[in-house]
Subunit: 199 residues, 2 copies
């Protein structure tokens, strides 16, 4: 998979004028705060407008409707996560070695999805698309690269699928409530799995 | 999960008269052979009747329509697989030790699903049911029991989900064609994963 083809990022963000970019980012940050504090159900055109201190018309002009807003929020959030593991600081980013980055990836993914848990759960693809959604492919390609460096004799592509399955959002949901405990359990499982694989 | 509750089996098989039981088994074996040789698309009420040497009316009376026949075939096949790992001979069944049974389970699951690949793929549950389908729960409970015996200090329930994900039918489909190669790759991955976990 390390063939140099451009990496598939989250949905494209169309070029905007500088003030429109700032405006859009402001609205999305307000929506992200709402989602983190009160869940995706709390995100409405009105609540985001209020939180960002703008009129509802501004939110409508930018995102159309609530569905458009939620999709934009997911893309925005995924893009920030991608930047963190592709070019952010250590231990997640490229300044750390492969083993350190691999250890950091699972907890970072869990924290990232936790912040938008019900959004990711609602966006869970159907079985036939589970492995072909671009954002999923990028995560897989990244983990496979790290596995290849850390465990040169393993089937890195396959093992990367297995590792990602261990922190899958649907699995974490299945582990039950309270969600903090399910996330802590999945994080401990990630470290335990890597400890066993790497020793 | 080892709380002594009865294990969830595949769909219930209603009591039938002895000759009706033989008749039903004969039809399902014929359907299973057709599926293995020519794929699920080759299974029709007519083809099963012909293969079993009975009239089409006999197949209709037993299964209603093609959907009922396919569902019965999947339940029948899953039940045979369950019998094999719950009470069949070693290395899959209870006469072998936990590590041996665990090693044998992945390849057996892959062979079992391979024989009904398009049936299982078509029956793949939606994301919210991925972990709650009774047949899946039974597989998981079984693997978790073996993991608990083989790796007493691991989170057996969680690791069992991870192991099962590595031989998931949707993942094997994603590994591409020819399917024999994808299956061999998943089987090698199962053994490699266990080698690393158990050493």
């Amino acid at each position: 998979m390390s063939d140099g083809t451009p990496l598939p990022l989250a949905g494209p963000e169309a070029p905007l004028r500088a003030d429109a970019v700032r405006n859009r980012a402001l609205l999305l940050e307000a929506a992200a705060r709402l989602a983190a504090e009160r869940g995706a159900a709390a995100i409405t055109m009105e609540s985001v407008a209020t939180a960002a201190g703008v009129g509802k018309g501004t939110v409508s002009r930018r995102f159309g409707d609530r569905h458009g807003l939620l999709q934009a929020l997911l893309d925005h959030s995924e893009r920030r996560f991608q930047e963190a593991f592709l070019s952010g600081p250590a231990p997640l980013g490229p300044d750390a070695d492969a083993v350190t980055r691999l250890r950091a990836f699972g907890p970072a993914l869990l924290r990232h999805e936790h912040a938008h848990f019900d959004l990711y759960l609602a966006a869970e693809p159907s079985p036939e698309r589970r492995f072909t959604v671009p954002a999923r492919q990028l995560r897989h390609r990244h983990v496979a690269l790290l596995v290849r460096a850390a465990l040169p004799d393993a089937d890195a592509d396959l093992l990367a699928h297995t590792l990602l399955a261990s922190v899958d959002v649907v699995l974490v949901e299945h582990l039950g409530h309270p969600r903090d405990r399910a996330l802590a359990r999945a994080e401990a499982g990630w470290h335990d799995l890597l400890d066993r694989l790497l020793r």
